[in-house]
């Protein structure tokens, strides 16, 4: 079996299994769509994955989330914002930060702070 398939399978299985482990406590399934969010975040933090690869994966995930009718996880859209900032695409960055704020008003103060300080795009 090629490692790629195993890897892909493992990524899908991991969050699902963790949620299963919780199933007795959380009741009817997960609250959010997780998709590739945490594996991509890990790749981002370790530097193993570049912004283009992450964007492709996470944006495809947004469509999947719509299809199953669940909101994407907290931080998902904001992480896309940071990826576009890396690509010097300020417009897309703001779009995603704003989308995080709309979906999760708890983030408002922080996102506003970022938007003020990110008037100049990060390097």
């Amino acid at each position: 079996m090629p490692t790629f398939t195993m890897r892909r399978m493992a990524r899908v299985i991991a969050p699902a299994t963790l949620l299963l482990l919780n199933a007795c406590a959380t009741g009817p399934g997960p609250l959010y769509y997780w998709g590739e969010y945490q594996p991509q975040v890990y790749g981002h933090l370790t530097g193993e994955k570049g912004p283009d690869e992450q964007i492709a994966s996470l944006e495809a995930g947004i469509e999947e989330a719509k299809a199953i009718g669940k909101p994407v996880a907290p931080g998902y859209l904001a992480h896309l914002g940071i990826l576009y900032a890396e690509k010097q695409d300020g417009e897309k960055m703001l779009e995603y930060l704003d989308a995080e704020k709309k979906l999760y008003p708890e983030s408002s103060a922080y996102i506003d702070f970022l938007m003020k300080s990110k008037a100049k795009p990060s390097n």
Partner: protein, 215 residues
């Protein structure tokens, strides 16, 4: 009480002193800022590995979790490069910047794989403290561990089987064998509905239903 039985099964502990949730219940935070974990293990991967796993158990427990990569970046752009420096930032400052109700301070005690002739073991142990950023009170603290050897010792019934399946699926496919184990540790540490664990947050349908005040 199947829920309690299941919870006990998954924790593997027979009796524990019930946690005092008084401060937690007074605070009822809805958003949690997770700081990059402090790493006391020799493996440099520990901080990022655990940080990448913790959003899921906390969010599924009903909390808004601030975007971990963005938070990390914010600290770095303010000249704080390692978790120890980040953990030293005053609570007031965190509150001002992030507008979070509570902050979670994680310390990774063990992280890594011990290779032995017969079989190797990956183990991750972490502890966490949840601090209210408004009152500066400690709301909760806990610790959890997970090991790749668990599945082989056939303990824990169904949960044990699931853990075993998860670990063996992923161990095949990763160069960092402790990383999937860190996912299990994070879940044990930070999923609500476990004995002496965190309470459900406002985004969960189970909000306000848990937390023993007195035995």
């Amino acid at each position: 009480m199947p829920l309690v039985a299941a919870a006990l099964l998954s924790s593997g502990c027979a009796t524990q002193q019930p946690y005092d949730y008084t401060a937690y219940k007074e605070s009822r935070p809805s958003s949690i800022l997770v700081l990059p974990p402090l790493n006391m293990s020799p493996d440099v991967l520990a901080t990022n590995s655990v940080l990448s796993h913790v959003t899921l158990p906390l969010a599924e427990s009903g909390y808004y979790v601030f975007p971990v990569t963005l938070v990390n970046e914010t600290f770095k752009q303010n000249g704080l490069v390692n978790p120890a420096e980040m953990h030293d930032v005053t609570l007031q400052k965190l509150r001002d910047i992030f507008g979070a109700d509570a902050a979670l301070y994680i310390t990774v005690r063990q992280y890594g794989t011990t290779y032995a002739i017969i079989s190797s073991e990956s183990r991750v142990t972490a502890e966490a403290r949840l601090i209210d950023l408004r009152t500066e009170q400690t709301l909760w603290s806990g610790t959890a561990t997970a090991s790749s050897a668990e599945g082989r010792s056939s303990s824990g019934g169904l949960v044990g089987l699931l853990v075993s399946a998860l670990v063996h699926q992923i161990v095949e496919s990763t160069t960092n064998r402790a990383h999937p184990i860190a996912g299990i540790t994070s879940n044990r540490l930070l999923a609500a509905g476990r004995p002496n664990g965190i309470l459900y947050g406002p985004r969960s349908p189970n909000y306000m239903t848990d937390g023993n005040t007195r035995p």
